[in-house]
């Protein structure tokens, strides 16, 4: 009995230690962001703030310098919103229609095309970086938010198509056949049979795409201009800004601000977040 109790205690101890390991960076970010620079220099990394100050947060949001631009994260945060919202919506709508065709309206060559889309999900984006830079220039979208939206829609399509296809494929084909006999067309069937049951997978797709696009750095740093940088690029610039004294508290406040939207999504809709992650890896 005692050895079993010891075992249980050890188990809980290990689980709690790991929880502390995962929580520690968030804790350090939060406490550092609430300390003055003086307190950071004299105190301990893991200590709670003695005098809580919100000045670093104000500075991170509205006056911190990212490169030469000293307006804080605010304009870039807004850029990310303007980029993510349309990109998420467009790629989800297109993915839903594509998935509907792949699952229920098979035609010759559809399997091959689906395989090609799937491969597209796995390419390292480095391999399309150079031609995309040229293409955006040709299209007049270089360094603009519409350009970034375009890029995120194109390279998000594979995943959204996959989500909807795998969801719709479980719906019996007899249903579509019966509806066709009744004279319903392609869009009518989608609208009145498939869309009403799609809320869970729409949620998965929106959360997945939002997290991907909000957190993206590679496309942001490669294709944005001075006025269109997303928040991740601005955060990196603020942290690596070499002018003036290193303001660790401002860096940490900025990091939390940049992380807040996706963290919020995770806390509110964690279940769907996990389903997106696993659907992206375990197919079928």
């Amino acid at each position: 009995m005692t050895s079993k109790t010891m075992l249980r205690a050890g188990l809980y101890l290990i689980l709690i230690l790991f929880a502390l390991f995962y929580l520690m960076p968030l804790f350090v970010m939060l406490t550092t962001s609430l300390k003055s620079l003086e307190e950071i220099r004299t105190g301990s990394l893991l200590a709670l703030p003695r005098d809580i100050t919100f000045a670093p947060w104000v500075e991170a949001w509205s006056t911190a310098c990212a490169g030469t631009q000293c307006e804080g994260l605010r304009p870039f945060f807004w850029n990310s919103v303007l980029m993510a919202v349309p990109a998420v919506m467009i790629s989800t709508v297109v993915g839903a229609l594509n998935g509907y065709v792949f699952a229920q309206w098979r035609f010759r060559g559809a399997n091959l095309f689906f395989a090609m889309i799937l491969f597209g999900c796995f390419i390292p984006f480095q391999v399309v970086l150079l031609p995309m830079a040229q293409m955006l220039g040709l299209m007049g979208l270089a360094g603009s938010i519409p350009g970034l939206i375009f890029v995120h829609v194109i390279y998000g399509l594979g995943f959204t198509t996959l989500f909807f296809r795998n969801y719709y494929v479980t719906i019996p084909q007899e249903l579509v056949r019966a509806a066709k006999v009744d004279g319903a067309g392609f869009f009518r069937i989608f609208w009145s049979i498939f869309l009403p049951i799609s809320l869970p997978i729409i949620t998965v797709s929106v959360i997945w795409q939002f997290t991907q696009i909000w957190n993206d750095f590679l496309f942001g740093v490669s294709f944005s201009g001075a006025g269109s940088q997303p928040v991740t690029v601005a955060l990196n610039n603020i942290v690596n800004s070499t002018t003036g004294v290193k303001a660790y508290n401002v860096d940490m406040a900025a990091a939390i601000i940049a992380a807040l939207p996706t963290l919020l999504v995770y806390v509110v809709a964690g279940k769907y977040f996990i389903r997106g992650l696993t659907a992206g890896s375990v197919k079928g």
Partner: protein
Amino acid sequence: MEWLERNVPKMVLAPSFVAIMIFVYGFIAWTAWISFTKSRLMPKYDLDGIGQYERLFAAPRWDVAMNNLFIFGGLFIVISMAIGLALAIFLDQKIRAEGVLRTIYLYPMALSLIVTGTAWKWILNPGLGIQETVRGWGFESFTFDWIIRPDMAIYVIVLAAVWQASGFVMALFLAGLRSVDGEIIRAAQVDGIPTHRIYSAIIIPTMAPIFLSAFIVLAHLAIKAFDLVIALTGGGPGYATDLPATYMYAMAFSRGDLGQAASSAMIMMMVIFAIVVPYLYSELRPRHDK
């Protein structure tokens, strides 16, 4: 009208088809072509053999990047899988606060790697970070300055990447553990087979497909890891923590060497495809039978 009705599905797919053909396959072809030319600052289209690849393989910096990829990728995958599996098995023992713990283990996956890098860079800086804190506790000679040491900095990248992704592996494995047939486990328990044997002989072998998908996802993350290196070490000290992804970016956007950028991107793609193609092939095949 009937023709239209019949072809609506194809027309719905057509824009995506065109987009994928141009922006995925066309662009790969373009990059492949450029990798066989003498392109520098501007693309040139006259083929010039494998000169770029010879230059690439002769470059010490690329050598470091590929070595780092194997060190980083290997350790990142093995450690994340080990931690993920251990946590999943521990959490599977009717733990009271399972939901809370799961949420804590997985939240890093919601963060941008730039945020992760920024946080760990601060925690690991030798001046005011964890090293100084432990010294403050009385361990005067405690040293943990890997982030500024060329020979150790790559392990710092491993640490931060494991922190970010191991909870996700836990979630994958936990879902796998829960899907194993309860009848078999109960029968084994009735027969008095010890718990560790039930795991090692019954449960884990049935989870082989999950090991495979966890491996694929982690390998994919490792090869594409770019943001984390940029935020955590900037590829430094010097180019000690360069990965193929940061090498490619440096060639493309700061060195203005398109030929090198294209050839390094092609090598990255081949490494990924060597891992992913057999997997996708096996995943897609049974589908045709349905």
